[in-house]
Amino acid sequence: MKEFLEGSRAVAEAVKLCKPGVISAYPITPQTHIVEELAQMVADGELKSQFINVESEHSAASVVLGALACGVRAFTATSSQGLFYMAEVLFNIAGLRLPLVMTCTNRSISAPINIWNDQQDSVSLRDCGFIQLYAENNQEAVDFHLMAYRISEDKSIMLPTMVCMDGFILTHGMESVDMPEQEKVDKFIASYKALYKLDTANPISMGLLADPDYYLETRFAIQETFKDLLKFIPKVSEEFKSNFGRDYKDCLVEEYYTKDAEKIIVAMGSVCGTIKEVVDELRAKGKKVGLLKIISFRPFPYSRVYEILKDAPRVAVLDKAVSLGAYAPLAVEIKAAFFGKKKSPKVISSFIAGLGGRDITLDSVREVFRKLTQREVSLEFIDLKPELLREEYGE
């Protein structure tokens, strides 16, 4: 049923449909609306979950870790500094092969402190062993949470998923969302059955010390599962389509007018909506431009990227995060997809935009297309204010 909802409300409704037994969270802007909605659902008796208010994000992640270890489905949500404070526990959850589903409402990282959107938080945690899916709009945010539980809890996967949605832009934005029906969700996501759990009837030990004779294989096993995920995520997307009607294709990437495009922007998250508008506008003027949206940043779909971009003359990668002192995070992946391959775009330029909530406007996207020339550029910042730079350096 279509409803006009705030993004956070829509996500809370989606989580409710997935029936987690334990929810734990610590407040941080812009995640708060999601967990407030869930707390109210529990308070109203609509959701039969244990809602645990903790003293930190570190403990929020630890509480859901404990619940999952007992074989109970769990949920948490955070953002920015909160995600970093959780980081140690998130690596641990993945290493323990516990299928947590969490929301990261993307926000910048301090200092300077800034509560607005970019993707530095989740992108910085790309190595923690979580599947990372980036939503363009609130419908995707809802649907990706459903798919996340289906993917994470499958016996062949048993890895956690972080659904990333841009803070404020999506979390506080009102959109029309088609909310799935409970019966269909129950059919799509079976009740969680853990492979191993803490149970006095069958005592096992979890989280053992693995010395150099054993550690390496545990990391290898996760890496192998991430390879499997490149086939499994499309399978779940297909299941999703047959249950709910919405088609995310392989759910690894989305192509928007890429087939004959001479200039393609690669990006993640809500900015893709803005880019689509500019693509429409330029296509109407006969310009061959397109967008490649990355949905799954982990696992990273290198071969799909290669197939889609190999004949494109010019590619611009738009990062909403930086790896200070190095190439931009998404740009690195895109360039890596072509290393040692027969074909490659002639130009792969890298742009940084939108850090700390600086609006990426239609004009910003037009500028990226304009600056995507024969001359490859790297780490080109869009929408810098020259007057502020002068002030900073006293020119």
Binding site: G21, V54, S56, V63, T200, G207, Y214
Partner: protein, 295 residues
């Protein structure tokens, strides 16, 4: 269960390890219907080196500082599953994992009122990493990060009052124990398990390597700590001091001289006086002195 002890032999703990003795006493008192959440530390390392485990109960280790939070999640899951009334949850850690890095998670668990028994095995320093000072290291102790030198007589602080901090949360039960008093220890664990809500038990466990004593003296040294008043045994019930183990106090030298970590103050009357002051303060505060029959 006769052939499946809850804490099995064959682990890699040191000879004379007080923590391994106490851990066995705790889990045997708590029984098979118990889930244990363990912080990182000696106990975790020497009992669960893959592919072996000493534990005959469901057991999980996550990180150094989060056993109390993980145990909160375990308890919440058991409530959700309708199994809490038949299952005990124990969170356990060393003194550093409790009083320093794990204090925030512990405080959160106590404040939220989870039905969990938290056990702190207090061997008075970070032994797993090589005898570094913790918040529960006693005054004047020689450790690798509070070393004795020309300008130092060891650790400059007294032990952080962890039992009092736990008690200040308004929880129903707080107790101190010693591995030198195993029956007292097991009685307190059983009592704690029988009470609903958060419970805190702190157990004094000598460490032959870190304290530098002979490995056959663990039990005697643990008793001397109690008998001198340096490690008072007491119970708080619903916030009130309910019971103490009475002693006829022995001079602190009798305890200090058994261990290399205090060797540097044995001929230092001024420092000995200060340590005796710590014991005297405990004796007065908890009213430890046994009324002698003659007086």
């Amino acid at each position: 269960m006769e052939n499946n002890p809850l804490f099995k032999p064959g682990h890699t703990g040191c000879a004379g390890c007080g923590q391994s003795m106490a851990a066995r006493l705790v889990i045997e008192a708590a029984g098979a219907n118990t889930i244990v959440v363990n912080n990182t530390g000696c106990l975790e390392v020497f009992t669960t080196r893959y592919p072996e485990s000493a534990w005959g109960v469901p057991w999980i280790h996550s990180l150094f500082e989060n056993a109390a939070a993980v145990a909160s999640g375990v308890e919440a899951a058991l409530i959700y599953l309708g199994k809490k009334d038949t299952t005990n949850v124990i969170a356990q850690a060393g003194d550093g994992g409790t009083a320093d890095i794990g204090l925030q998670a512990l405080s959160g668990m106590l404040e939220r009122g989870h039905d969990v028994l938290y056990v702190c095995y207090d061997n008075e320093a970070y032994m797993n990493t090589g005898i570094q000072r913790s918040g529960l290291t006693p005054f004047d102790t020689n450790t690798t990060t509070s070393p004795v030198g020309k300008a130092s007589v060891g650790n400059i602080r007294q032990k952080k009052p962890m039992p009092e901090i736990a008690n200040a949360h308004g929880i129903p039960y707080v107790a101190t124990c010693s591995v030198g008093y195993p029956q007292d220890l097991q009685r307190k664990v059983k009592k704690a398990i029988s009470i609903k809500g958060p419970k805190y038990i702190q157990i004094h466990v000598p460490c032959p390597l870190g304290w530098r004593h002979e490995s056959n003296l663990t039990y005697q040294i643990a008793r001397l700590a109690v008998e001198t008043g340096l490690y008072p045994l007491f119970e708080y019930e619903s916030g009130k001091l309910a019971a103490v183990r009475k002693i006829q106090p022995k001079p602190v030298e009798e305890y200090l001289k058994t261990q290399g970590r205090f060797k540097h103050i044995l001929n230092n009357p001024e420092e000995l006086k200060k340590v005796q002051g710590v014991a005297d303060n405990n004796i007065q505060k908890y009213n430890l002195r046994e009324e002698s029959p003659s007086s």
